[in-house]
Amino acid sequence: MLCQNWIVKGSSRVLTVNHWPDVPIPMGVVILLPGFSHAMCDMDYFMSRLARQLCSRGFFVVQADLRGLGDGAGEFSEVTLQTLEQDISVLTEHYRNGISDQVFCVGRGLMATLLAAFAKGANISGIAGVGPYCMAPEVAKSFAELATSEVFDAGAVFSGKDYVKLSDFSEDTLCMLNAMGAVPYNIQGMEMNRQLLLDLAAFEALSVLQNTHCKTLWLFPGEEKATAHPVSFRHEKNYPQKQLFQRNPLPREPKTQLAFHAALTDWILDSAYKLN
């Protein structure tokens, strides 16, 4: 059963879709956050399909539009790391207090890494991410320098027009958008806050991914076709080459996305059983 709900606390106004499992006591809560700038269903309805799969396995699943994103209140131009952190904190607290103290989170791109950043304070049981954001701060800084005003046209900074072959997008732009979990045709047409890029210019993503205070699973496409491969950042001394994000970490192929769904579901199930 589905239910839409507004979660309101302080300045946070988050829209959620709750998936109630057909069991008396859910195995836990799973909060799903899409690639950055996407609505909660995510690209190719990736998170909606994952939600149904997890729900069928006994989890209470939450899809969420944070402030400025999707159906969330406010404007995209108001989104900063601070607003994202506040909303994630409100979400996890709400469902931990209301449904289960076993809360898992799944994010894509920037949202995956932000979940890892806020995990300790939010007492999260486990975090899984598809292509978690892991760009060196100076990369974000280079984009922040292109923003000529506090609120700027995203298309002016992440420029390009060929949405099919991406021929006129620079390699840096594609890598940055892929790392965030965004697609050009979704982020163009919106105004962004320069503070977000400045926040990312000061954000040590690699350190965050290495020092998470809970179980984690980071997935990228495998070398074999239609597979999902776990990646560990724990022993990396340097940021990965940006070419890691040259292609979309979530390929737009149904078989591959099914592989990601299976890997995520199996890991969450396994983690939940072990915690119990």
Binding site: N5, C41, S48, R49, D65, L258
Partner: protein, 270 residues
């Protein structure tokens, strides 16, 4: 006001959003949005959300929803088709009508891209539809588009049904067949109600239709607007703002004289 709505139709749950103006007159228009193929109720760069909020400021109620198999509604994409999307839309029309009892129900359908096909079917079936808007309407067969994707038919792993890979989704055979049919411009023009076409002059997907319309003898109730350089997704801040403004102004102008606002001044209405 942005209120989540939910309805149960044919065993599926359809989730949507209704944007209700702070002040509205009885009988003021309600716009129902029909997005294209693999879109969602928010749409690219929140275009639908921004339109709904802007239209609200002008006293227009807007409803956005996800078809079954799309967005956050239930079912899988391979289970939907244009016929199923039409059926879902008809259910939503009934739901919205139920929200506005005791007044003339002035429904405006807004079809975006191939959502125009659904808009066309519903407008023919329901007398509550008083006007239609189309954003970059795609009415021609999509055979060429599917062929250009270079994908082969596949078997959906769970149901073992024959499907067509469309980006990260599987498209059902019924949808494929329906999308491969042409909807004739003449058929759209036959709709006996005001029609607004908004095109991006740079939209490669609708250029043939734009050229056809340039030669067409337009009926008096059809208005064509073109946004210079805009692509299929209206993906700049300027283009998005323009399509939103054009649509809102057109809807307002259409219904302004038909609605009795009583002693409320124009300023108070906005």
């Amino acid at each position: 006001m942005q209120v989540p709505i939910q309805l149960y139709h044919k065993g599926r749950q359809l989730l949507g959003m209704i944007h209700v103006p702070h002040r509205r007159a009885k009988g003021s228009p309600v716009v129902l949005m029909n997005y294209g193929m693999n879109g969602d109720r928010v749409d690219n760069h929140r275009l639908s959300v921004l339109f709904a909020r802007h239209a609200n400021e002008a006293g227009i109620t807007v409803v956005r929803f996800d078809y079954s198999g799309c967005g956050v509604s239930t079912e899988e994409f391979w289970e939907t088709s244009l016929s199923e999307k039409t059926s879902d839309t008809l259910a939503v029309v009934d739901f919205i009508k139920g929200c506005f009892p005791s007044e003339d129900f002035n429904l405006v359908m807004l079809g975006y891209s191939d959502g125009t096909r659904i808009m066309n079917k519903v407008a023919r079936l329901r007398s509550e539809v008083k006007a239609v808007c189309m954003w970059n309407p795609i009415i021609r067969s999509m055979t060429g588009t599917f062929k250009a994707a270079g994908k082969k038919m596949a078997i959906e792993p769970i149901t073992k049904k024959l499907v067509f890979p469309l980006f990260g989704l599987y498209m059902g055979i019924d949808y494929l067949k329906e999308a491969n049919e042409d909807l004739l411009l003449e058929e759209v023009m036959e709709l006996n109600m005001p029609k607004l076409f908004v095109f991006g002059s740079g939209d490669v997907h609708t250029l043939p239709l734009q050229q056809q319309l340039d030669q067409f003898s337009l009926p008096g109730n059809a208005t064509i607007e073109k946004i210079n350089g805009a692509n299929h997704l209206f993906s700049t801040v300027e283009w998005s703002a323009r399509v939103i403004q054009l649509t809102t102004d057109w809807v307002n102008a259409l219904f302004d004289k038909k609605i009795n606002y009583g002693n409320t001044s124009a300023k108070q209405r906005s």
